[in-house]
Subunit: 335 residues, 2 copies
Amino acid sequence: MSKVKVAINGYGTIGKRVADAVQMQKDMEIVGISKTKPNFEAFVALDKGYQVYAPADKLKGMETGGVDASGTIEDMIQTADIVVDCTPGGFGDENKALYTKAGVKAIWQGGEEHELAGCSFNADANYEEALGRDFVRVVSCNTTGLCRVIYPLDQEFGIKKVRVTLMRRAADPNDVKKGPINAIVPSPIKLPSHHGPDVKSVIPHINITSTAVVLSTTLMHLHSLNIEMDKQCTAEEVADLLAAQSRIRFIGQGITSTAEIMELGKDLGRPRGDMWENCIWEQSVTIDEGELYFFQGIHQESDVIPENVDAIRAMMELESNGARSIEKTNKAMGI
Amino acid sequence: MSKVKVAINGYGTIGKRVADAVQMQKDMEIVGISKTKPNFEAFVALDKGYQVYAPADKLKGMETGGVDASGTIEDMIQTADIVVDCTPGGFGDENKALYTKAGVKAIWQGGEEHELAGCSFNADANYEEALGRDFVRVVSCNTTGLCRVIYPLDQEFGIKKVRVTLMRRAADPNDVKKGPINAIVPSPIKLPSHHGPDVKSVIPHINITSTAVVLSTTLMHLHSLNIEMDKQCTAEEVADLLAAQSRIRFIGQGITSTAEIMELGKDLGRPRGDMWENCIWEQSVTIDEGELYFFQGIHQESDVIPENVDAIRAMMELESNGARSIEKTNKAMGI
């Protein structure tokens, strides 16, 4: 069987990780990645054997910078069956025209609106909805993290109401331009935040209200969740259910913070120290007055990576069953 | 009328602020403060004209360090009608024996347990309970901030359930020994946190569940609140009620973070730039599906200061009416 040809448009935090995860799979391969600047990431991409492409007006700059580009982004798209668009949010419409013209499928990330793709994706919750589709949006890291816990809890116990406070990292670790370095920033100030509706773009019937703040940290997001469920259940039943999910990792063993979770990712030998799973503190899973509470850490740079791989598999109909795709992705990545 | 004589045992973050606030009042005065080390705070205290006392075994060190101490802590207590104990948490029992022996009234801070004093105090919620008492505990900064909003909302609309995520600063700005500098620390991991029960030590019938984390910031705590009320009401009605409370300040005008709130405190000319009031983002006050949400910033170094002054007034029966004490305190401090 020939492998599905995947191009990565935008080789930043998410793009470079998706490229490596795709390359690990048996049924897909990277045919090219795009960069706009000849920086260290472009050189590492070449070292890894990826064909590097660039916007037409940046080719000269790439050459000057010593990066041997294989052609334009349009050239790259021609070689692909599907493009994973990891460009910064806001270029959606422009790029959609490009992909449509080339007759290539495309995946966007959570920075774009649901309407652009018409299908917002989480592998656990709605894999089948993406089967054969031309355009899919893999929801953001926070929404992915929420869907991964909300979907199984709703299936098992029925969800009446989710209330969540999202504590977001200020910037990714390599981003030296953003703050805050010493403040708490309600974001948005006007409540509720967009994260609740974004979960509903994947699981429409969920009743969820979210609030969010931005913090002086770069390592992970943290969610403080409160969930009312239809069926009464114990903390042990919830813990057993969540622990059985392949993209949820229970943490304990002296881990007291997001910093130690990321240290664990490095100690485990994960590529870039990534922690692809929701990290739930087992000890935090509590039923108080009939309502569920727990804390989970979400690694903003990497939790959507396996979801992108599954989205490719669904859209290219490499696998009709979501659970089997998840199993393949996990096995290849080592989750 | 002779002024009530107040001694401050422990002249750190809270103690030095209580001293200055007491000194501003017409009906009370500082007769001494205690220090254990001859550091800059001791020198500033002398400059302000406070008598500085020290534990007997530290007097020599004070002298060597150039601080002219007036005597031991036992000596200081002899001169006072009431002691405000701002020593680090955990010395409660020991100090209580000292105060009892000297026949002096005492106030502890939120670091001590409710049982030590038998009365946990918030000026709005239970001033009358402290009238004439020998021992009172002024609840912590976070609990004070919660009581200030919960009490009036409960009086006006009836509170069914409070759910709150407390995002706590890592350390005070002058504390260079604590972290985290880049992490989110669920604290406690085991839920719910003690803050809910602490609110109940002041307003026993409130149904409240809290979760808390510690963050990489020094400036303020931030609370993300969700409140279900008995009576239906609009966001405007809630905003009007909260805006009418003298120790709640509504913020807007381009303030997007805790850092800008503290900048405002400095620009207003507040002593030490303190922000004694709960700072609620007006725009955040929202009713969503019948439930109230809002964000408030709590200045951990200073919000309990006016409460300590009111506690003195209640215990010494300088004023039988809580609202009138609050008015006197606020006027003298410039709230």
